[in-house]
C-alpha cells in the first residue's frame, strides 16, 4: 500500500506527496499534459524538441543541470505521444534547489536562438541513432501511419520528418511554451525522504506564485474504425525477415485495458509466454517474439513483433501467430496460466514500487488519468480478469479487419 497525500494549489497545480523514510533521497517528478498528439501535423516532433530546450536555462537559472549537479542531483526526462515527463533525484537536504529549478522553468524559459539551433542538431542525431542507423529501426516509423490515418498517433514522438525540426523558429517555441507549460497543465509528485508539511510549504513557496495560463482545449480528431485489413511489405538489407502485427484497442481508461494487458502477458510475459514457447521453442519459427500494449491515453495498439528464423516462410509465421492467439480461447491449461501471469504482475508491481522514481512517475500519471489511487488498485484490477473476458476480448479485437501487418523482408543472401 502506497500512502500519499494530494493537494491543489490555487493556480491549478496538482501536487502528490508520498513519504518513504527508508531512503536519503527525494524524487521529484513533473508531468506536463502535452505530448506529440498535441502537435500541429506540419510541426511534428516539436513536443520532444521542446523537452530538450527545457534544459537550456530559464529566466533566473541560466543552466538547469549545473546547479542540480552542484547539490548532488541527477535528472532526465522523456516525451511520448501523450505526456512530457521530467524527473530528478536529489539528496533530501538539497531538495529546495530542485523546487527552484523546476519552478523557474515553469515560470519562463530563457528562449535562446543558439540553444534552439544546437538542440535541433542533437535531436536530428538522436533520430539518426535510434531509427536510421539501427537494423529494423524504421519499422515503427512505417507502422504508425499504417495504423492511424487521422489521429495524431500517426506520427512518432521524434517527428515524422526531420524537416519539421529544422524549420521551427523561436516564435513557435514561445507560443508552445505559453500554451502548454503552466501550473494548471502540470502535476508535481514528490516521493522519498520528505514530509508532507515541508512538501506543501515548498510547493506553495516556489510554484504558488506562477500564474495560471490559458490552455487550448484539446480537440483531437478521433480515428475512424478500421474496416479492412492493411498490409505493407518492405524490403531491406537485414539479416532476418521480421513480422509486425498490430490491432487497434480502446483508450487507456477503457474497461478492457487490464484484460488486454493480461492477454499480452499470456502471449509474451517471460520465457514461458505462449508465443515464445510455441513459436520459438517448439516450432522454431522465430528467433525472438514479443507482444505488448502501447498503453496510450487515446485508443492505442497491441503490437506483436518477431524476427523469423532463416528460411521460414512469412505466411506460415503469420498464420502461426494467429493460431497461438486463438489458442487462448480454449480452456486447456488456461487456469494455471491465468494464475501465473497474475502472480507475475503482482510481483513486478511490488518490485517497481520499491523505486521512489517509479512511484513518483506512477502517481503523476495516474493523477492525469483522474485517480492517483490506481497505484494501489492495479493488481486488484488485473487479478479480476476472467477467462470469459479474455475470450470476449480476443473475439472482438483480434480480427483481420482490425489488424495491420508489416512484412519486413530480408533481401540478404546468406552463404
Amino acid at each position: 500500500m502506497i500512502n500519499y497525500k494530494r493537494f491543489l494549489l490555487e493556480n491549478g497545480l496538482r501536487v502528490l506527496v508520498h513519504e518513504d523514510k527508508s531512503t536519503p533521497l527525494i524524487a521529484m517528478n513533473i508531468l506536463y499534459d502535452v505530448g506529440s498528439r498535441d502537435e500541429n501535423p506540419s510541426m511534428t516532433g516539436f513536443a520532444h524538441l521542446f523537452e530538450h530546450l527545457m534544459f537550456g536555462g530559464s529566466v533566473n537559472a541560466p543552466d538547469f543541470d549545473t546547479p542540480l549537479q552542484l547539490v548532488g542531483g541527477e535528472n532526465n526526462a522523456f516525451t511520448n505521444n501523450d505526456i512530457t515527463n521530467y524527473y530528478l533525484t536529489i539528496p533530501s537536504e538539497n531538495i529546495e534547489t530542485g523546487f527552484w529549478l523546476e519552478s523557474d522553468r515553469m515560470l519562463e524559459l530563457d528562449f535562446s536562438q543558439k540553444n534552439l539551433d544546437n538542440q535541433k542538431n542533437v535531436v536530428i542525431e538522436e533520430f539518426n541513432q535510434r531509427y536510421l542507423n539501427q537494423p529494423y529501426g524504421d519499422a515503427i516509423l512505417k507502422l504508425r501511419p499504417l495504423a492511424y490515418k487521422v489521429h495524431p498517433y500517426r506520427w512518432p514522438t521524434i517527428g515524422m520528418d526531420m524537416a519539421h525540426i529544422k524549420n521551427t523558429d523561436l516564435e513557435q517555441v514561445k507560443r508552445f511554451f505559453f500554451s502548454h507549460y503552466a501550473p494548471n497543465n502540470a502535476i508535481l509528485a514528490l516521493t522519498g525522504n520528505i514530509e508532507y508539511d515541508l512538501a506543501f510549504k515548498l510547493s506553495q513557496k516556489w510554484f504558488g506564485t506562477i500564474e495560471k495560463r490559458v490552455i487550448p482545449v484539446r480537440n483531437l480528431p478521433s480515428e475512424p474504425e478500421q474496416t479492412q485489413e492493411r498490409t505493407l511489405s518492405i524490403e531491406r538489407d537485414v539479416p532476418s525477415t521480421a513480422l509486425y502485427k498490430v490491432w487497434h484497442i480502446g483508450p487507456r481508461k477503457s474497461k478492457d485495458f487490464y484484460t488486454l494487458d493480461l492477454i499480452t502477458d499470456l502471449l509474451a510475459g517471460g520465457e514461458s509466454g505462449r508465443l515464445h514457447t510455441k513459436l520459438v521453442r517448439e516450432k522454431k519459427l522465430f528467433s525472438e517474439i514479443n507482444a505488448y500494449l502501447t498503453a496510450d491515453i487515446d485508443p492505442g495498439l497491441i503490437i506483436v513483433q518477431g524476427k523469423l528464423m532463416k528460411g521460414v516462410d512469412i505466411q506460415l509465421a503469420e498464420k502461426s501467430v494467429n493460431e497461438v492467439i486463438n489458442g487462448l480461447l480454449s480452456r486447456n491449461d488456461i487456469k494455471d496460466e491465468m494464475e501465473k501471469v497474475k502472480n507475475k504482475f503482482e510481483s513486478s508491481t511490488v518490485f517497481s514500487n520499491t523505486s521512489i522514481l517509479n512511484k513518483a512517475a506512477n502517481l503523476s500519471f495516474f493523477e492525469l488519468l483522474g485517480d492517483p489511487g490506481l497505484i494501489n488498485n492495479e493488481v486488484h484490477s488485473y487479478r479480476n480478469v476472467s477467462h470469459e473476458s479474455v475470450i470476449d476480448a480476443i473475439k472482438r479485437y483480434f480480427i483481420p479487419s482490425n489488424c495491420c501487418t508489416i512484412k519486413y523482408i530480408s533481401t540478404r543472401k546468406e552463404k
Binding site: D20, S22, T23, P24, V59, N60, A61, T66, Q69, L70, V71, G72, E74, N75, I90, P91, E93, N94, E96, T97, F99, W100, D104, N118, N121, V122, I124, E125, E126, N128, Q129, R130, N133, P135, Y136, W206, G208, T209, D237, V238, P239, S240, E271, S272, T277, K284, S287, E288, M309, K310, D336, K340, N343, K344, E346, S347, V350, F351, N353, T354
Partner: protein, 427 residues
C-alpha cells in the same frame, strides 16, 4: 512575502557523508561464503550466486556464455519448459549473466517463495543436463541475434576495441565469428560446468528484507554440496594489444559513425583508481561532463558521448564512446583529444571542482540507496577482494582531490600515444 520571492539558488548543503550498511558475512556448512545485506521496506529479496566462470575461463569462444544460458534449459528434475513456467508462476525474476570474469544468476522474489527459489536455484546451478536439442535450438537463435547485432556500428566498434586492447587470442579480446556457433557441444558444456560451476567456488550475496529462515534454508539446499575435489584452474593467456592504434571498419549504408577511443588502464585494486574515477567523471562520466558540454551541448555533433572506466580481474580499461554524424566524425575525434589535453594542462577551476565533488557525492548516495543498489555495489568491490573501505577511500578522494593531482593523473593515465582509436561507419 511570497510575491517578493527571490528566485536564486537556495543554500547548497554539502551532501552528507555516505554511510554504507556492512554486509553480514557468514559461511555455510561446506564453507561457501554468504553475504547478507539487510535493507528496504518491502518483503522482497535479491539473491545472487557468483562463480569465476566468465569468458576468461573459456578455451573456446561462446563457451562461458552458452554454459550460463543453458543452465535453465533443463535439469535432472525439470525440463526447460517446467523451469520457466515455475519461475513465472511464483513471480520470480531470473537474470543469467556471463561477463568477462565472472558468471552466475540473480533472482528477485517475494520472500514468501524463498524455499521454492532455493530449490529451483539448486536445479539450475548444479543439476543442469545440457540437452542437445535445446542447445542446437539456442545456438541457431543466438546466431540470428549475433547477425543482427553485427549490423550495429556501436557493436562492431566495441568488439574491435576489445580486440585491439587485449589481443585476438585472449578471451577478453577475441571477436566472435559465425563458425564459433557450431563448436559448442553438450560434452564441452558439461566439462566447463564441472570445472567452474563448483559449489566450492561459489559466493552468495543476499539483500532485501531478509527472511528469518534464510541461513537455515541456504544450508539445507547448498550447505552439503561439494564436488569432493578442488580442480586446478586453467592457466591464463597473455594479454597483448594490437599494434595498430587506429582501426576503421567500413560499414556501408550507415549515417553515423561509432567512435571508441581508449586503452588498458588500472583497476579498482590500484591506489590511484579513486582519483582516476574523478578524472574520468569530469571528462565524460556524467551529463554535465566536458565531452557532453562540448560535443553535444555546444556543437550538436551527437545525441550522446560518454567515457567510462571498467575494472577486470586481470586488467581494466577506459573508453570514450559516441555516435556522430559522418560529416562530423573527424571534428568530434579532434575535440575528444582536445578535451584530454586540456585536462592534462589546465587546472580545473574552483566552480567545476565544486560541481564534480557534490555530483559524485550524490552519486555515492544513489549507489547505496535500497537493497538492489547496495548488493550491486557490494559485489563490484568484493569481486576485486575489496570491502567498503574502497568506497570510503573514493568518498574521501572526491572531497579532497585537488586540481594538481587531476593534471598528474590525466598525464599518467591518458597518454594520447597509448590510446586506440576505433571508428565504424561508411567511408
Amino acid at each position: 512575502m511570497m510575491n517578493n520571492l527571490l528566485r536564486v539558488q537556495p543554500p547548497v548543503f554539502p551532501v552528507e557523508k555516505v554511510v554504507i550498511p556492512e554486509a553480514k558475512s557468514l559461511k555455510l556448512n561446506n564453507g561457501v561464503p554468504a553475504y547478507l545485506i539487510e535493507a528496504g521496506t518491502e518483503d522482497i529479496m535479491r539473491l545472487e550466486f557468483i562463480f569465476k566462470a566468465g569468458q576468461v575461463k573459456e578455451y573456446l569462444p561462446l563457451l562461458s556464455s552458452t554454459c550460463n544460458m543453458m543452465l535453465s534449459e533443463g535439469s535432472q528434475n525439470y525440463s526447460s519448459e517446467e523451469l520457466n513456467r515455475l519461475l513465472d508462476y511464483y513471480g520470480i525474476f531470473l537474470n543469467q549473466s556471463a561477463e568477462k570474469d565472472s558468471a552466475g544468476i540473480v533472482l528477485f522474489f517475494l520472500n514468501k517463495h524463498i524455499e521454492k527459489v532455493l530449490e529451483l536455484s539448486r536445479e539450475i546451478l548444479f543439476r543442469p543436463v545440457f540437452p542437445e536439442p535445446e542447445l542446437n535450438s539456442l545456438m541457431k537463435k543466438r546466431l540470428r541475434w549475433y547477425l543482427v547485432n553485427r549490423e550495429k556500428v556501436q557493436n562492431l566498434a566495441m568488439d574491435q576495441f576489445f580486440e585491439s586492447l587485449f589481443g585476438k587470442n585472449h578471451p577478453y579480446g577475441y571477436q566472435i565469428t559465425e563458425q564459433d556457433f557450431e563448436n559448442i557441444s553438450p560434452s564441452r558444456l558439461k566439462d566447463f560446468h564441472s570445472k567452474y560451476y563448483n559449489p566450492e567456488k561459489m559466493a552468495v550475496i543476499i539483500s532485501g528484507k531478509i527472511h528469518s529462515r534464510t541461513t537455515e534454508l541456504l544450508d539445507l539446499y547448498f550447505g552439503n554440496a561439494g564436488s569432493g575435489e578442488i580442480k586446478k584452474e586453467d592457466p591464463v593467456n597473455f594479454l597483448r594489444g594490437g599494434k595498430l592504434k587506429k582501426v576503421h571498419i567500413n560499414k556501408s549504408g550507415t549515417v553515423q559513425n561509432a567512435i571508441r577511443i581508449g586503452s588498458v588502464t588500472i583497476n579498482k585494486r590500484h591506489t590511484d583508481y579513486p582519483g582516476l574515477k574523478v578524472v574520468d567523471t569530469i571528462l565524460g562520466g556524467y551529463f554535465g561532463s566536458r565531452l557532453m558540454k562540448n560535443i553535444r551541448e555546444e556543437k550538436g555533433y551527437t545525441y550522446g558521448v560518454s567515457s567510462s572506466l571498467t575494472s577486470l580481474d586481470l586488467s581494466g580499461y577506459k573508453v570514450i564512446s559516441t555516435e556522430v554524424g559522418q560529416k562530423n566524425n573527424q571534428k568530434a575525434i579532434e575535440e575528444i583529444y582536445k578535451e584530454i589535453r586540456l585536462l592534462q594542462n589546465v587546472p580545473v577551476e574552483k566552480e567545476e571542482m565544486a560541481v564534480i565533488r557534490n555530483y559524485m557525492s550524490g552519486e555515492m548516495v544513489r549507489m547505496f540507496d535500497g537493497p538492489f543498489a547496495l548488493a550491486e555495489s557490494f559485489r563490484s568491490a568484493w569481486e576485486f577482494g575489496l570491502d567498503n573501505g574502497y568506497y570510503y577511500r573514493l568518498a574521501e578522494k572526491i572531497k579532497t582531490i585537488e586540481p594538481d593531482e587531476i593534471i598528474e593523473l590525466a598525464r599518467t593515465y591518458y597518454d594520447v600515444d597509448d590510446l586506440y582509436e576505433i571508428t565504424v561507419g561508411a567511408e
